[in-house]
Amino acid sequence: MWKTIAEKELRDHLQSTRFLVAAGVSTILIVMSVWLGIAHYKARAAQYEQAVQMMLDLASQQTNWMTVSMSAYRKPSPAEIFSNGVNSDIGRYSAISQWGEVRLVRSEYSEDPMMAAFQFLDPMFVVLIVLSLIAILFTYNAVNGEKESGTLKLVFANNVSRSEYIVGKLIGSWLVILTPVIISFLIGALLLILTGVGLSAGHWGQYVMFVIASVLYATCFMLLGVFVSALTHRTSVSFLILLVVWICSVLIIPKAATMLAGQAIPVPTVDEIESRVNSFSTQTRTEFFTNMGKRSRERFQSAKDMKPEDRQQVLAAYMKETEELRKEMDKTIAANNARVYEDYYNQKNRQEMLAFSLAKISPASQFQLVTMKLSGTDVALKKRYEDAMKEYKAQYSTFSQQKGGMFGFRVSSSRGSSSASMIGPEEKKVDISEAPKFGDPEYSFSTALEGSLFDLGLLALFNILAFVGAFVAFLRFDMR
């Protein structure tokens, strides 16, 4: 029996103008957003290639490693097409040098405020806003609408059980919503193949998971629609309630949750942290320099009357000692930085945990967080890159120290030779291929899946709850 009802429901909807308009709009929008995402990704990838190439070109023209300026760029990933997340908010690259801290700078939005004014249109956004609205639009009158038009009584004049009816109804509505979603994502997949984005198997996995998350999300709102429709007797009221629910869960709760967390767990700003770190390192360095100046004068004084060989020895000892002290100082600074930053990140993590736990009351933020995790554009993206870049910085520092490229302290050994060591005796160009290369942090399909499984489960749980709600509410629905 439920099959007949589902079939009737499906036919009812498929022939309506409502379906035509809604399915048309959602298909156009999803396909368009995938296409825009592809265009955007390609532009970004081209920009990345160009930037890296230019950096290497410039570097390979230098004759000394000291004048080489290295940067590590974030490589765009095709998974960003599905959900852009915080990708455009985070800096695209960081300069890599022995002295400076790793800092991601020049985010897409800060560089191009025009983009920031309206932001990007990614498939995640279309699903988030449009699919949920459409799901509500199809179901707000699922039960009470039939009562208003009198068809509900007619149906139950036949030998139909309530549970069969509601199950048929839900399945029918679900298929109605599923149709445009599946079609548009299939077209999206076709676009992804035809435009030659070059998705790996892992990326396809991410895409499939994205579609599954979208279906779960849309189903959630559909079930909610039927639920509210079975709770109220007038369609106008159920529509209003659903609209308020929609506004709250899509627009209000996520924003309010982060802001509440921001108030509840204050985290010092980066500026504060940086100035704390800077002031410590500047102080330590100043001490070191003063100390070094003093020692150098003492040594020179004592070595004044020595024989040239002895003088050389003293000098060599001095240089060794300085090098040791410098290493010691670097270690102290690094240890302090690590401590300050660890505190900072711990605090931030707690803030984040609170914000996201609060936000997850709403299925919309669950969905958003899931897709960001799937695409690797979640909040942790910044930390992942910073960590990878810090590691790379250490590698590169060792390398360039070996090459004697950095502004070493040898400069000070004697004034006469300082210029020589600054510029390098030979005019040979550096071989840039010797330098270590920056490897982007791994973000595989399994990592993505692992990170998002919990939230997906939560979304599924919401679905079950809404299903039970709709089911029970209809069993108790007053048909008169």
């Binding site: 930037a51 025009m114 002031s279």
Partner: protein
């Protein structure tokens, strides 16, 4: 007759459950956005002060001006938290240097991506999403709903002209919905004063213009949906159409136009500009190194004490020439890039103005000073400050030169320096960085086009509703 109809319309709307729910929701959101904005403002002001203090403390702990790393911070403005615009995307911090290009770093969203995920709830957002939805909910069945309910025929059984009916409908709904919205807006103003947010007269004026633009945007959606309602016979269809219009104008057109403009116009990425600059600087550096090398070779062996000061003077003279050359080159590059970017921006915003919400957003951002130009305006201020900072550093250290000189000085510390204990620096000596407030006249002028456009759209749809109702099939 018009008066009776108007009264009926007003009563109809104000007494409905729909009005109670939607108006309640809109007011709560509006007040929430004010509250959040105020808290945000206070918070960022506190952070701003803390960062400034920390910077001063760092400087005070040093003993040499040469080792100072001065930072300046962008001061939060009250209007910026009500209409975020691009505020949170533009860097807040600048490492001040006496020469060279200045960069804006640590934007709110880049340093706190948590807040970038869901963004903030600001006044602009409430107007764009909620006001427009509110308007549509009341407009979509204004005419065809009455037909479906049968009341339309009843009304016209009396001696009522079509013109007076539609006029009362339009004016009635504009009044019944628009005037109540003033209440939460005014409460918001009271909150601003109550929480002690410092607002100048100019800022109040700009805020009222933002309110005006918001109400105009609301009016556009109301008249538009009434037009649709009198064009289509069934209210379910007009609702769908209005919703599609809403989705497109709120969500799709603005975002789409930016991407489209980026496809149409060709602007090189800043990386290219950056790399050109780097190459130029690197070439200069090589040349300069050679000169310095030559100078040192010629002079250093003499070992006389005046070498350091002569070297400083030499460096400064070389620096100045290079600096000028570099600035010219950078200036040309920047200007060229800006011109192309402006052109792209004109395309993007031109296309986006198809959507009334985008028009409002552009107007509001201009009024609040958080428009796309904000970054460039701020950079100009920084450049102006850089001049006075350079003068100050010149006076303190005798040079605006960079690293090179610092290192040389450090290594050659003269014996006299050692005897007197180095004194701590006084950070208040550094010239204060004061941002200029945006001139209210300028902000308002910048928004006039868009406010005018909103007015025209109001008039257009008002007329549209009027004339389409004259032809409406009452049967």
């Amino acid at each position: 007759m018009l008066k009776i109809l108007l009264e009926k319309e007003l009563r109809d709307i104000v007494y409905s459950t729909k009005f109670a729910i939607t108006f309640g929701a809109a007011s709560i959101l509006l007040l929430l956005s004010f509250y959040v904005g105020i808290r945000n403002y206070q918070e960022s002001l506190r952070e701003y002060e803390a960062a400034k203090t920390a910077n001063a403390a760092t400087i005070a702990s040093l003993t040499e001006w040469t080792s100072v790393q001065h930072r300046v911070f962008r001061k939060p403005q009250p209007l910026q938290v009500l209409v975020n615009g691009v505020t949170n995307d533009v860097g807040r911090t600048t490492d001040m240097r006496a020469s060279g290009e200045l960069n804006l770093i640590n934007s709110r969203f880049s340093s706190d991506p948590l807040f970038a995920v869901f963004r903030f709830l600001d006044l602009n957002f409430v107007v764009v999403i909620v006001f427009s939805l509110f308007a549509i909910l009341f407009g979509y069945d204004a005419i065809n709903g009455e037909k479906e309910a049968g009341t339309l025929k009843l009304v016209f059984a009396n001696r009522v002209s079509r013109a007076s009916f539609i006029l009362s409908k339009l004016l009635g709904s504009l009044l019944a919905l628009g005037v109540p919205l003033l209440v939460p807006l005014l409460i918001g103003c009271l909150m601003l004063t109550g929480f002690g947010v410092p607002m100048s007269g100019g800022e109040w004026l700009r805020l009222f213009f933002i309110f005006g633009a918001g109400l105009l945007c609301f009016g556009v959606f109301l008249t538009l949906s009434i037009t649709l309602s009198s064009l289509v016979a069934r209210s379910s269809i007009s609702f769908l159409l209005s919703l599609v219009v809403w989705i497109f104008s709120v969500l799709i057109v603005p975002k789409g136009s930016v991407v489209l403009a980026a496809q149409i116009t060709d602007v090189p990425s800043l990386d290219v500009v950056e790399s050109q600059k780097r190459k130029f600087t690197a070439d200069q550096m090589q040349k300069r190194m050679k000169q310095i090398q030559g100078f040192i070779r010629a002079g250093s062996m003499a070992g006389d004490t005046s070498f350091i000061s002569r070297f400083g003077a030499f460096q400064d003279s070389v620096n100045k020439a290079y600096e000028k050359e570099r600035l010219d080159f950078y200036g040309r590059l920047n200007e060229d890039w800006r011109n192309r970017k402006d052109w792209q921006g004109r395309w993007a915003f031109g296309i986006s103005r198809i959507a009334p919400t985008a028009i409002f957003q552009i107007a509001a951002m201009n009024l609040a000073g958080t428009d796309v130009e904000m970054k460039y305006r701020y950079q100009q201020e920084l450049n102006r400050y850089q001049d006075s900072y350079a003068k100050f550093m010149q006076a303190k250290t005798g040079s605006t030169a960079d690293m090179m000189r610092v290192v040389i000085r450090r290594y050659s510390g003269s014996p006299t320096e050692e005897k007197e204990k180095p004194k701590s620096l006084n950070p208040t000596e550094i010239p204060e960085f004061g941002e200029q407030q945006r001139d209210p006249g300028e902000a308002i002028t910048a928004s006039l086009l868009d406010v005018g456009l909103l007015l025209i759209l109001n008039a257009l749809f008002f007329g549209g509703a009027f004339f389409s109702f004259l032809k409406f099939d009452l049967r």
